[in-house]
């Protein structure tokens, strides 16, 4: 038995990785720009939001790495789920996530998003965020220090640069699964059904 984190690679991701081998030069360039520029939605969903101000202001200055805040979900690339997530917050996170433009990513901070954390027996918080939304990167800690958050962002940037992340695609493909889980905790009134092709039949282009 090894020490440290017990890695259990998931088989379901392996087919995504194989696609990167034949990506075009435009995709390569686009991934590079996406990696260099990350807009983070300014929405503190839990206690970990307190670690975000030092990350983005002059002490750790995430703007060095091209990471800056975005005021509206329309312009954001990343939503940070910072810690525990009550049902009430989850409803807002889902609606916000669905308003963001593809490609979009989720960064989950802290223990609570993984397996409930210290709210593991609470009647009003969800235990596993990945049941409801596709999470791209988990950061360890309770709460993670700004260095950890930056480390998470850098890992995310690396994955974006390699073109390996397509969690929004996963969300669209497995929407029935996510919707079922969302309705299980939030009831039928979760949100209008999310559809990736909204803009095609809503009088759009």
């Amino acid at each position: 038995m090894d020490e440290g984190f017990l890695k259990e690679q998931q088989v379901m991701e392996s087919d995504l990785n194989s696609e990167t081998s034949h990506k075009s030069s435009v995709d390569f360039l686009m991934d590079w720009f996406r990696r260099r520029s990350i807009f983070v939605l300014a929405y503190g969903t839990g206690c970990g939001a307190i670690e975000m101000p030092p990350t983005f202001t002059s002490r750790y200055d995430a703007e060095r790495l091209g990471i800056r805040g975005a005021a509206t979900p329309r312009q954001a690339d990343v939503i940070i789920v910072s810690g525990y997530c009550s049902y009430k917050t989850l409803r807002r996170i889902i609606r916000t996530y669905e308003q963001m433009a593809n490609p979009k990513y989720i960064l989950a901070l802290g223990s609570c998003t993984v397996n409930g954390g210290m709210y593991w027996d609470s009647y009003n918080t969800i235990k596993r965020l990945e049941d409801y939304l596709p999470v791209d990167m988990y950061v360890n800690g309770c709460m993670p220090r700004p260095e950890s958050i930056l480390e998470g962002f850098m890992a995310l940037q690396k994955e974006i640069g390699d073109g390996k992340i397509s969690s929004w695609q996963k969300y669209e493909d497995n929407y029935a699964f996510y919707r079922k889980n969302q309705e299980a905790v939030l009831g039928q009134t979760v949100a209008p059904a999310y559809d990736a092709d909204w803009y095609l039949y809503d009088g759009g282009l």
């Binding site: 200055d61 593991w120 988990y138 800690g141 220090r145 998470g152």
Partner: protein, 130 residues
């Protein structure tokens, strides 16, 4: 809308221009590393020579984060259950109660704390033997 001319209020912000000449406050993280504060509660370590497998840590953990599992490594001869703790970092809140109740003081918190992964199932942690 009422307003009046405020000379000092207009001039005093000009002092900010001096900040241009000063050194930035920023810790440029990946290049410059900040030293971990003394007593910072990072990852767990467990000295197997001392661990007696008493499960006090498991009993005291309010988050139900600790599993006692059979080890295949060399353990303390006094380890009467032949079990050592494994910690679920999807539950742990680094309250440090487990290290406080550890009778032989083998379970400790290290200074390392950086852990980033794509998969939530990676968050089971086997304390390092040191």
């Amino acid at each position: 809308m009422k307003w009046s001319i405020d000379i000092s209020g207009t001039l005093s912000p000009l002092g900010i221009l001096a900040a241009m000449m000063q050194k930035p406050n920023t810790i440029a993280y990946p290049a410059v590393k900040k030293e971990t504060a003394v007593g910072y509660r990072g990852f767990h370590t467990n000295l197997l020579v001392d661990c007696i497998g008493c499960a006090n840590c498991q009993d005291v953990c309010m988050n139900d984060a600790i599993d006692m599992i059979k080890t295949d490594k060399e353990y303390n001869v006094k380890n009467s259950s032949q079990c050592i703790p494994r910690i679920d970092y999807g539950r742990c809140c680094w309250c440090s109660l487990c290290t406080d109740v550890c009778p032989p003081d083998s379970l400790k918190l290290d200074e390392e704390y950086l852990g980033v992964t794509q998969y939530a199932s990676d968050f089971l942690y086997m304390p390092k033997d040191k």
